[in-house]
Every structure is written in C-alpha cells, then in structure tokens.
C-alpha cells in the first residue's frame, strides 16, 4: 500500500540523511540532531498531507529541524551553557531563510563518515553509528544485523553519540595528511557492514542483501565525495573496496541453492552472475590499478575479478590467483590469507601440495575454524582418502552454527 503517509516518510528519509549531516556541522550532538529531525518528521506528516510535499523538501526539513533544535536547547535548562549553540543554530537558520526555497543543501556527508568512524570510538560503535546516521537504519535493524540484543545496540549507539559530544570529537574531514590513516577505519567499517550481509554467520539466512547493498551504496558515496571535494583525491583502496564488494555481490543469485544451501564457487551456475555488475567492478578496479598504489582491497578485488571473468570453473587462472594471494600475504600475514593461498596452490599444483601446505604451523590458530577443516576435507576427498575426508567434514560441522553451511557440509559427507 503506497499511501501518502509512505510517500512522505520516504521523501523524508531520503532528504533527512543530508540534513542531519548539515545540522551536525553547527551542533556536534547527534542525539539532539536526531530528536530535532524526529520533531520535523511529525510536523511534515501533518503539514505535507494538507499542503503537499514542498518543492524543496530538504530545505523545508532543514529549517524546521533547526527551529526544533533551538526549541529543545531553550527548554533543556542550563540556558547559559547552551547559549552558544542556540546562537549558532539561529545564525544558521537566518542564513537558510535568506536563501529561502532555493536553498542548496551542501553535501556534508563526508564529515559525517569521518565522525562516525573516528578511531576514538569502538569499532562496533563505528559500524552501528554509520548504519544509523548515514544508512538510516533503525536500531532494531542494526541489532538484528549484528546479532546483539536491541537494548545492547541502543546503549552502544547512545554511548557513542555522547562520546562524540562530550569528548569533543570534531565534525570535520581530517587534514589531507591524515586522510590515509583515517580512511582506513572508514573502509574497515564499510567492509564489516558488507561482510555482515555477505556471510551472516548464524541462523538461516546466509546473505543479507540489504546490508550488502547499503555497504556498496556508502562506498559509492565515499568515492564520489573523495573525487568531488576540493583538495581531496580519489583513493585507490576506496575504489578497490567498492570493486571488491561489487564483484562478490554480483554472484549473490548463484551462491544459494533452492533450499537456501550454500553452493561453492566452482559449482555455481555462472549465467546467474550479474555480468553488468561484474563489468562495473572490473572497470573500477582497473581505474584503481592505473593509479599504481596497491593495497589489500585492490588485491582481493583482483582475485575476485579473475574468478568472475572465468567462463567456466576450469578456466580459472589459478597461477595468477596464487601470485595475488602471495602478495596479499606479504601485506597481511594472517592464517586466513594463508588458508586461501593453500587452496589456490592445491588448484594450481594438485591436492597433495595443498594438503602439505595446510600442515604449516601457521594454521594452529585455525583449529576451531570450520573453513580450515572444510578445505582440508575437500583436498582429502580429491586425493581419494575418503575416510579421512569424512572425519574432516565432521570436524568442520562442529564449528559452524550457520544452517546453510551445515547443509553444505552434510551434503559432502553423504553425497
């Protein structure tokens, strides 16, 4: 049902993300900005039903929200302390009204991204704040996505907003010399959001498309802003991350079988991949690679692109993938990267070589990681060592709670 109420709510949602970013530039108080926006929504629902949606809804929401900020600051007591904030809001309101209905809302979302992903906030809080203030997700939605109870998430978000206000976390794009370090945190947050959607680790749903879409959308916004804001330039890793997410997500329709079971890459029906999205991902990756500053996201995107460009699983360029995993391991010497490299080695040089690589002491940390045992089991099966393979599959089963992953492993035990 597409009622007037829904149309208003949707218009409001679209415009309010930009408005909150602007409000914060004079406020530095996320809670207050959100409360004022909520007030403005209530008024919009009453007024727009009668007067229609204004010609410039963003400007309408902004002036209404600013008035509400002033009202709330005035009635909050501690008038003396709030006076500077009231003056700032009043001055901004006067500026807005000078421009009247032609008011252009400046795009302040880049500042908001850097504020939400400030390293002085815990990483879980960064992720939650980004989804809420930039993505417009509700607290229950975020809590569900990260499998935490709603009150826990609500408290985490409130604490983070208060820290921004009370510890004086500035609302600004960092100096260009600091951008690389700070951008790292932003990219990590976007990647965590994507992964939470791509590999939901519990429950029945293996992929949460909404979270993947949101991470991709935010990465697009980030890349566009880095290009558009004067004094900033394209970042190869920001491009690499966007390419990586597009290339992974392009396989979504082929990853799950009819009963929600997980289909491994080599068995996926490649016609069901989104080839337009793969083309876009590859084009973005090429642009990043042309700038010649390599990094882990670009390498992972390049690996994903090699898979995506193979017409058949047998056509996969494993030699090149093995080289790329080696390069990734140089930058990130983690057991997970080593595991992927061992699998690539098995594809290139045979399962025996892969099994030998998996005996490396680096994997002692992965003994309770289901993918390690699943990879070992697959290689044992390919060597024809059926009993050892079954044992390894059963070990893998013990270490995953995801129903789709469990179904995949059971299928392997009893073909």
């Amino acid at each position: 049902m597409n009622t007037m109420h829904d149309v208003i709510a949707e218009t409001f949602r679209l415009e309010s993300r930009k408005v909150i970013a602007v409000l914060l530039s004079t406020l530095c108080d996320v809670e207050l900005a959100e409360d004022a926006l909520q007030d403005a929504l209530v008024i919009a629902l009453q007024r727009w039903k009668i007067d229609g949606i204004p010609r410039n809804p963003g400007a309408w929401i902004m002036t209404t929200a600013r008035r509400k900020v002033i009202d709330r600051l005035r009635s909050a007591g501690a008038l003396e302390r709030n006076l500077p904030a009231i003056e700032a809001a009043s001055a901004a309101l006067a500026d807005d009204e000078d421009g009247a209905s032609d008011l252009q809302i400046p795009d302040e979302r880049l500042k908001l991204i850097f504020t939400c992903c400030h390293p002085a906030l815990g990483q879980e809080a960064q992720v939650g704040l980004t989804l809420q203030t930039l993505g417009g997700l509700t607290t229950p939605e975020i809590a569900r996505a990260f499998l935490v109870p709603e009150p826990t998430m609500a408290q985490r978000l409130v604490r983070a907003k208060r820290k921004i206000r009370d510890a004086g976390i500035p609302y600004e794009v960092p100096a260009s010399s600091e951008i690389p370090a700070r951008l790292d945190a932003v990219l990590t947050v976007l990647y965590l959001i994507f992964n939470a959607g791509y590999a939901a680790s519990e429950g029945d749903a293996l992929i949460r498309h909404d979270l993947c879409d949101e991470a991709i959308r935010l990465a697009r916004v980030l890349n566009a802003l880095l290009t558009d804001v004067p004094g900033l330039t394209e970042d190869t890793e920001a491009l690499g991350l966007l390419a990586l997410m597009l290339l992974h997500h392009a396989r979504r329709d082929a990853r799950l079988g009819t009963v929600g079971d997980l289909i491994p890459l080599e068995e996926q029906e490649r016609a069901r991949w989104r080839h337009d999205e793969i083309a876009e991902g590859v084009a973005i990756l090429d642009r990043a690679l042309a700038l010649q500053r390599r990094g882990p996201y670009q390498i992972q995107a390049a690996i994903s692109a090699l898979h995506a460009q193979a017409a058949q699983a047998e056509d996969t360029d494993w030699a090149q993938i093995l080289v790329l995993y080696g390069a990734l391991y140089d930058l990130h010497p983690t057991p997970i990267v080593a595991l992927n490299r061992a699998v690539a080695l098995a594809m290139q040089a045979g399962p025996e070589a892969g099994l030998t690589a998996l005996d490396d002491p680096v994997f002692s940390e992965l003994q309770s990681y289901y993918l390690y045992h699943a990879a070992r089991a697959d290689l044992l099966r390919r060597c024809g060592r059926t009993d050892a393979a079954r044992q390894a599959y059963e070990t893998a089963l013990r270490f995953t709670d995801n129903a789709a992953e469990q179904a995949y492993l059971r299928r392997r035990i009893q073909p």
Partner: protein, 117 residues
C-alpha cells in the same frame, strides 16, 4: 575544551634506559612542553613521585581504610598529568601522540568535566 592527559608509565622502562637515553627522554619532554606552551594550550603539568609512595584511601561504613601502594596493582602506573585546552579531541590526540612516553608506555586523554561557574 579542556583535556587531561594521563601518562601511564612502567617505571622499570625508564630505569633500564642508558644515561644517554634518559637524557634524550628528558629533552623530548622539554621539547613537548615548549611546543604545547607555544601553541598556547598548556594549562598545567604535574609529574608524580613513584607509585611506591602512594597510599590508597577507601572509606567503608564510616571507617577509613588505608592501603600501601596505588589503586590498581599494574605494571603501568600514573606518572604525571598535563591539562591542555584544545579546540577538539583531534588536536588533543595529536599532542598526546607527541608525548615521549607514548612511544613506550600509554597516555590517556580525557575531557575535563566543566562545572557551571
């Protein structure tokens, strides 16, 4: 905004430095003091005596209990504080990262509670 920088040192680190290293550490602190003063943000700075001179006070049911030593028995103890007045947390963190002890120990930055006059 006023921030307090709390410097948590492991005293054995300084003790095990060579005389030249100790001299360099001291000179680095002098340089930091100078930079903070030049920026106009330095409000106060205190270096504490070693933690073995600390006495911890607790009052329970009206009875005062004294314990020898600092509040928490950890390797790193509060060694000193600075009070700085900065535009925002980023400026405070930038200065905190330049404190010599940050290279081998930890420094904590906390906003100061501003009470209404």
């Amino acid at each position: 905004m006023r921030y307090m920088i709390l410097i948590y040192n492991d005293p054995t680190v300084f003790m095990s430095m060579s005389q030249e290293q100790q001299g360099a550490e001291f000179a680095a602190y002098m340089a930091w003091n100078q930079e903070a003063a030049q920026r106009g943000v330095l409000r106060d700075g205190i270096q504490l005596q070693p933690a073995n001179l600390a006495t911890t006070v607790r009052v329970r049911d009206g009875k005062t209990m004294l314990t020898d030593g600092p509040f928490a028995e950890t390797k790193e103890v509060l060694g000193g504080i600075y009070v700085i007045d900065c535009a925002d947390l980023n400026e405070a963190l930038d200065l905190a990262a330049k404190i010599p002890s940050a290279r081998h120990s930890s420094v904590e930055v906390r906003p100061i509670m501003e009470l209404p006059a």
